[in-house]
């Protein structure tokens, strides 16, 4: 797929993610013990042979730049092609541009790229998908735009969903964004394949008409004229639209069948390399049904939880149904249940924290609870 370029749009809604998106875009939210959300779509792209990826960012993206670096860990540190982080440029821009404006500002990037076809995605859809198959389908259908979707919205319905109306031939006839009452079961995964020239043409049309939203304005207006098809994705899909769905999706990783599919199915998931040593379990450790990244030191009890790299759990501590992000340190005899600790949180001995299954307690980055 060296004829295809990837576009990852990081200007995504993230109002329901609490502190997790205070200092980072959705794509930079840590997930699954050692990844950031963007790793999944980025790995799907490189596993399909895409060698040129543009990442469109709006704000709060230092965390993302730190994570991606030169793209070396994804094999994207290239003289030709490679990884491009595209921040909003110039100083006379609207403070809150729609995604169309964000893309339109970098038309020159599209123009300069050698590829003719674009795969465009967000980062909220977690899956291990083979874009080569989607491209083959796109060609077979002679589609102008192909949208990846999944039938049967996973998990409880949460309002924030883009739904497709489809004919029996998989042609898309309507798109509804965030309806209160869903009228379709076909969840758009917001992954698009299309001709690069068409995308540039559509962006330019939309901007000159004053449109701002890619789906609501541009796609909807053009559904009649263009051959837009849906590609049905059959695999596991985790959709991160809120703190609740983030927490639920994380907990689903504790099913070995789900994590095996997500981490291995069509290719491996790459992430930033950290030189962490293997995780150390002390004599007093007691760990069950948990995903643990490298560099942790466990002296306490961990159950049904996900520990990111470099987490320390003290003696006598009991961590249950929780997510502890990078380098959190949990003192002795702490008790946690339904807790999400963001990075670098320090909790001193004996603290008890408890959220609810449908409302986990989030502790913001670098908090010290002493």
């Amino acid at each position: 797929m060296s004829e295809v370029m990837g576009v990852i749009n990081l200007a995504e809604p993230m109002d329901n993610m609490q502190y997790l998106t205070e200092h980072r875009p959705l794509g930079a939210v840590p997930f699954g013990g050692r990844y950031r959300l963007v790793d999944f779509t980025l790995s799907n792209m490189i596993n399909a042979g895409i060698q040129n990826v543009g990442i469109f960012v709006q704000d709060r993206y230092r965390a993302l730049m730190d994570h991606l670096g030169s793209g070396k860990d994804w094999g994207l540190d290239r003289l030709r092609d490679g990884l491009f982080i595209l921040p909003p440029d110039g100083h006379h821009h609207s403070l809150n541009p729609g995604d169309i404006e964000l893309l339109h500002r970098h038309l020159d990037y599209f123009e300069k790229s050698r590829q003719d076809t674009v795969v465009m995605t967000g980062t909220s859809m977690i899956c291990n998908l083979d874009f080569k198959e989607v491209l083959a389908y796109h060609k077979e259908k002679d589609a102008e735009i192909t949208i990846v979707y999944k039938t049967g919205v996973p998990g409880p319905y949460e309002g924030l969903c883009t739904l497709l109306d489809l004919t029996s031939d998989q042609r898309v006839t309507g798109i509804e964004v965030d309806p209160v009452i869903p009228r379709s079961r076909n969840l758009s995964m917001q992954m698009y394949i299309m001709d690069k020239g068409l995308l540039m043409e559509l962006l330019d049309q939309s901007v000159s008409r004053g449109e701002t939203d890619w789906v609501k304005d541009c796609l909807n207006r053009n559904l009649g004229q263009l051959r837009v098809f849906g590609y049905p994705f059959k695999g596991y899909l985790g959709k991160i639209a809120s703190l609740q769905s983030y927490y639920r999706t994380t907990m689903e990783l504790l099913h070995p069948t789900i994590s095996r599919e997500l981490f291995f199915h069509a290719g491996l998931i790459y992430t930033k390399v950290k030189n962490e040593p293997p995780t150390k379990y002390h004599e007093s450790a007691n760990v069950k049904t948990s995903l643990i990244a490298n560099g942790c030191v466990v002296e306490g009890t961990v159950e049904n939880s996900v520990l990111f790299r470099g987490v320390k759990v003290g003696k006598g501590a009991h961590v249950k149904n929780s997510v502890l992000m990078q380098r959190s340190i949990i003192g002795e005899n702490c008790q946690f249940e339904h807790v999400i600790l963001d990075k670098d949180v320090l909790v001193s001995s004996g603290k008890h924290l408890m959220g609810a299954p449908e409302y986990p307690l989030v502790i913001r980055k670098k908090t010290v609870l002493s």
């Binding site: 699954g32 050692r34 981490f263 030189n275 293997p278 150390k280 379990y281 069950k288 490298n294």
Partner: protein, 393 residues
């Protein structure tokens, strides 16, 4: 080619036959260690952390495997445009090629490589020692003492001193005598096999040594004694900290066990002195509901349903339900089925151990069991000792 103050040469030549079944396909420096590393990671990481960015790795056994592992050196931050890491197997010259005859000869054959960087100093290292050491401090020590050569030394227990090369030194660290395995040691300072030489001087000695047909072309046996007898000022740099030669199966197992416990001699978690390594792309380790893990090191990509105690697990290891792993080192991608017992053993990579097998002595004992690489151990086998695929009971 820009000049470099100090070039490091890592002697990674040995086939490591004492590591037997673990070195059938790789040279000793590439043997896995510590749940994640290869032995040579320690010397390479020491170089990086000491600010030495030009490293030659002298190897003659399975250079392709070491080449594939080291690649362009990016894992150790040694993917430099100028300098970086170079694998140096013996190559063919106009008058034909020859094996490296000894450690000094290996460096002699690569004089051209070293000359490219016009260094003032050359640091000679061994590729099969486990330790963390700041060579920059040793180099400062070398300069301060205006020595011709500096040798890293470590205090060993007096009763073991006769197994080492022992340095006698005066109060100024000046080496007054060097005895290889002395029956009655006069000092307990053992050579660590780490040398800093002034390069122009060493080059002269290497040329002399090569012309001496009686020489075995070895640093410890020939070059160092000759320099001493010539009255070159040589000093001993005293090293404090963990240091281990992992040249035998027993010492390899011991060094792995040394990483366990509450306060191990070698701290892998020190962020100021990282040990770099090639990081495989693996998801986090999964410990299932039935898992019991105590006092162990486990890497990403492992899936544990059984019991693990005082053991080290490399990436991709799977341990089935009701299996028990005690005091053992399980190399990458070993799959262990259900109801298996493993005690005081090293299991080579990619080996599959089937249901109900019993590996290692049934009771706690001194004897280590070692199972080779890429084997399939049938169900209910019993294995002790060194095993490499013969028929099993």
């Amino acid at each position: 080619m820009p000049k470099k103050e100090c070039v490091a040469m890592i002697l990674a030549g040995g086939q490591g036959s004492r590591l037997s079944v673990l070195t059938k396909r790789v040279a000793k420096p590439a043997v896995p260690f510590g749940g994640k590393y290869r032995i040579i990671d320690f010397a390479l990481s020491n170089c990086t952390n000491s600010g030495i960015d030009t490293v030659g790795v002298l190897t003659q056994y399975q250079p392709l495997a070491l080449n594939a592992y080291i690649g362009i050196g990016s894992s150790w931050d040694l993917d430099r445009r100028s300098g970086g890491v170079s694998i140096l197997p013996p190559f063919v010259r106009a008058r034909g090629g020859e094996w490296y005859k000894g450690t000094a000869n290996a460096v002699y054959q690569n004089i051209d490589f070293i000359e490219t960087y016009k260094p003032e100093y050359v640091l000679i290292l061994s590729g099969d020692h486990i330790y963390k050491m700041d060579y920059a401090k040793m180099l400062d020590f070398h300069k301060e003492h205006q020595a011709s050569a500096t040798i890293g030394v470590i205090e060993v227990p007096w009763d073991e001193a006769s197994r080492f090369g022992i340095m006698n030194v005066d109060e100024d660290h000046l080496i007054t005598a060097f005895e290889e395995k002395p029956p009655k040691p006069k000092s307990n300072l053992a050579s660590m096999g780490i040398y800093i030489f002034n390069w122009p001087l060493l080059r002269d000695y290497l040329l002399d040594d090569e012309n001496d047909s009686d020489s075995s072309n070895d640093f410890g046996k020939d070059v160092i004694p000759r320099m001493l007898s010539n009255g070159e000022p040589m000093v001993a740099y005293p090293f404090q900290g963990y240091w281990k030669d992992v040249g035998t199966l027993d010492s390899l197992w011991e060094a792995n066990m040394d990483l366990l416990g509450d306060d191990p001699g070698l701290d892998l978690n020190d962020r100021r002195w990282r040990v770099y390594s090639v990081n495989p792309t693996q998801p986090p380790q999964f410990l299932a509901h039935s898992a019991e893990v105590h006092n162990s090191l486990i890497n990403e990509g492992c899936i544990v349903y059984g019991q693990v105690e005082r053991s080290v697990l490399f990436p991709g290891v799977r341990i089935g339900i009701n299996s028990t792993i005690l005091d053992s080192v399980i190399m990458p991608n070993v799959h262990i089925a259900e109801n298996v017992t493993i005690r005081k053993a090293i299991i080579g990579n990619d080996t599959i151990i089937s249901d109900g097998a019993v590996i290692g002595e049934a009771t706690p004992s001194e004897q280590l069991t070692v199972v080779g690489e890429e084997l399939i151990i049938p169900a209910h086998s019993k294995i002790t000792g060194i095993y490499d695929g013969e028929a099993v009971t």
